[in-house]
């Protein structure tokens, strides 16, 4: 096991940020922590990277205890905080060299590991980090977190505020890193990224709802799910809320995801109900559940 978390709790005054969290991440796995803002993701990251002490519980990273062996952990993990936190007034190369030096290594020594990522920003190596685009900043931050060849990589919302193309590229890079036997612990509020992880933990309000593979999470959804659409989306949500067979209904892209509260549900009934309520261009068809559906179901 690369990361073991046992019954970790952390409170900030009255607010309980983490409530009795337990999870395990095997070596070489890409593990996703999925949850909305304020769920406690960053707090867990800060505890695992030895920046914060938990109130209760124990945790270890690559076998080192986060309280007793914090010095060893700092040598073996790479951490990329959610906010870009490199020196904006130093150049790309200077930033990378700085982090290499304070980890007691050099860029040349571990160049192999970062080559894939660094070649993309190398043409701009004399540019100050503050003048890079969002996607390039993120690549630089990842290079800096990797420069000392960590065994575990902690990435706290690495793709927040990054364009869709760069996001896709970024996840491809993570997949390649995983092949190098690096355990990756990543958090994201985006459910579509969750599907790319080996295992995911759904977290909200400091509690873990479920830990499973993305497929397992989807399969655990207990209801049938239907996509519903009409020309009047807002009225559609209101009307579905009033419909007697509704279990849940919430917007999902251009459709409404609707789950019935009875197995006897027939799509004709819903279509009929919507027609009565003066909806036009009605579409109702069955679809497979997504991770987001499970998340919404579990967090209700």
């Amino acid at each position: 096991m690369s990361i073991i978390v046992k019954n970790i709790s952390k409170s900030y005054k009255q607010v309980k940020a983490l409530d009795n969290i337990s999870l395990e991440v095997p070596s070489g796995e890409l593990f996703g922590l999925i949850g909305p803002d304020g769920a406690g993701k960053t707090t867990l990251f800060r505890i695992l990277t030895t920046l914060l002490l938990p109130n209760e519980g124990t945790a270890s990273v690559t076998g080192y205890d986060i309280v007793k062996d914090y010095k060893s952990i700092r040598n073996t993990v790479g951490y990329m905080p959610g906010r870009f936190s490199l020196y904006q007034d130093l150049t790309v190369e200077e930033n990378l060299r700085f982090f290499a030096t304070i980890f007691g290594t050099t860029i040349e020594e571990n160049y192999d590991l970062i080559r894939d990522i660094y070649v993309q920003i190398e043409p701009f190596k004399n540019r100050r980090a503050g003048r890079l685009s969002g996607g390039m900043k993120q690549k630089l931050a990842l290079s800096c977190a990797l420069i000392h060849k960590p065994k575990v990589l902690f990435l706290d919302e690495p793709t927040t505020g990054v364009d869709p193309v760069s996001r896709k590229e970024f996840w491809e890079m993570l997949k390649r890193l995983q092949e190098q036997q690096i355990t990756i612990f990543v958090s994201t509020p985006y459910m579509d990224e969750a599907a790319l992880c080996d295992n995911i933990a759904l977290i909200t309000n400091g509690k873990i709802l479920r830990i499973d593979t993305p497929e397992g999470i989807k399969a655990s959804f207990p209801h049938k799910i239907y996509k519903v659409k009409s020309t009047k989306t807002f009225k559609l949500i209101q009307d579905l809320g009033a419909y007697e067979q509704t279990h849940s209904a919430y917007p999902f892209g251009e459709y409404i995801h609707f789950t019935p509260n009875t197995t006897a549900f027939r799509t004709q009934d819903l279509t009929h109900f919507l027609k009565e309520n003066h909806h036009t261009n009605i579409e109702v068809f069955e679809t497979g559940p997504t991770i987001e559906d499970t998340f919404m179901e579990l967090s209700d």
Binding site: V77, F84, Y87, Q88, L90, E94, R97, F98, I102
Partner: protein
């Protein structure tokens, strides 16, 4: 060692890359030195002087002539009544009013004794005190002259008994205020720059989030702190050098003592200030907070340093407080070494206290700096 060197290198790079920062560090203090040294004078000149002459005799006119001859007083107006003089003072048209009583001359000759009334605008207490001394000096001189005249007129043979004091101002013969202000102001500038820069530097890393990134690295506390603070020690010494050159060339301040001793003491002094700066930054989250706290200490340190008002004139409790004021020691040492040529044994008490202070502050700062919360 390699790590410390790289951090120092990085800090200097960041300082020199910040286009707005360089002038702030070097140009601003030097402008302050030039302006303050020329302006922060205790001499009171061009005092607006008015008088009410109720006597109108040759003696009273002679007394007024004495004021007129003085470079400190501008004899402005001859008021006809004290009521008029009062309203002029209320308007701020006049600072000092001398009222010569009726029968001034007659009393002086017959009874060898008379009164004068002096009214001084004491809105500025320090200036009023100085003005009072000037008035007394002129009146005394006038007094001495008339005594001699009276004696010459009257009983010859009796020697006039006048004790004359001739003051000698050691280490600053002409009582040139610049000679003692410039070393003091230089001290303030070195202190301000090093305190503000060090106080805000670590907080800045907190603000931009880089401190968190650094805290997860295996870097050691002392490596980080030495690497961070060393550049400011160099900057402080550089500032002192430029300031001393200006003091010598522009203000002709004598540098009697050993330059080496001065720099040696300054190194220890700057360590104290850097310790205070780091201590402040450990307890603040934003540069703004750090700035305000640094200012709080700075103002107290400056006003209680003995630079503008002598420590000896402060109340007992305040004098005890000044024991914890590093600026006081630095001002003393700079004046002693520069003007008096004091050697190491002369400044040993200040040296020892500053050294102790440096250990205490840096110890506290290192202890309060935590790599995790």
């Amino acid at each position: 060692m390699n790590i410390i060197r790289y951090i120092i290198q990085k800090e200097f790079r960041q300082i020199f890359r910040n286009k707005a920062m360089l002038p702030i560090i070097f140009i601003m203090p030097l402008i302050q030195l030039i302006i303050l040294s020329n302006a922060a004078s205790f001499e009171v000149k061009n005092i607006k002087f008015g008088y009410i002459d109720n006597d109108r005799t040759s003696s009273s006119r002679e007394l007024i002539e004495n004021f007129n001859a003085s470079t400190y007083f501008n004899v402005l107006t001859d008021f006809s009544s004290s009521k008029q003089a009062k309203s002029a003072m209320l308007n701020g048209d006049v600072d000092v009013v001398l009222e010569i009583p009726r029968h001034f001359n007659r009393n002086l000759i017959k009874e060898k004794k008379t009164d004068l009334s002096v009214t001084i605008n004491a809105i500025d207490g320090a200036a009023a005190g100085v003005e009072n001394v000037y008035v007394n000096q002129i009146v005394e001189r006038f007094n001495a002259n008339t005594k001699v005249q009276l004696i010459q007129l009257g009983t010859a043979g009796v020697q006039p008994q006048i004790i004359d004091t001739i003051p000698l101002f050691w280490y600053n013969e002409t009582l040139n205020y610049k000679t003692f202000m410039v070393p003091g102001i230089l001290v303030l500038l070195v202190t301000m720059i090093t305190l503000f820069l060090s106080g805000m530097n670590v907080v800045r890393e907190k603000e931009i989030g880089t401190l968190e990134q650094i805290n997860v690295t295996p870097i050691k506390k002392h490596q980080f702190i030495i690497g961070k603070l060393f550049p400011f020690l160099i900057l402080g010494l550089l500032l002192l050098t430029v300031g001393l050159i200006i003091a010598k060339i522009l203000f002709h301040i004598p540098i009697v003592g050993s330059i080496f001793l001065m720099y040696g003491y300054t190194v220890i002094y700057i360590l104290v200030i850097l310790g205070i700066g780091l201590f402040i930054s450990n307890f603040t989250d934003t540069q703004q907070q750090a700035m305000f706290i640094a200012w709080f200490f700075m103002v107290i340190f400056i006003l209680m340093s003995g630079l503008f008002t002598p420590v000896e004139s402060m109340p007992q409790w305040a004098q005890i407080l000044t024991e914890a004021n590093p600026i006081k020691y630095f001002v003393q040492v700079m004046r002693m070494v520069m003007l008096k040529g004091a050697g190491f044994s002369d400044i040993l008490p200040q040296f020892a206290k500053t050294l102790l202070y440096a250990f205490a502050m840096n110890g506290l700062a290192v202890m309060s700096y935590k790599k995790f919360t």
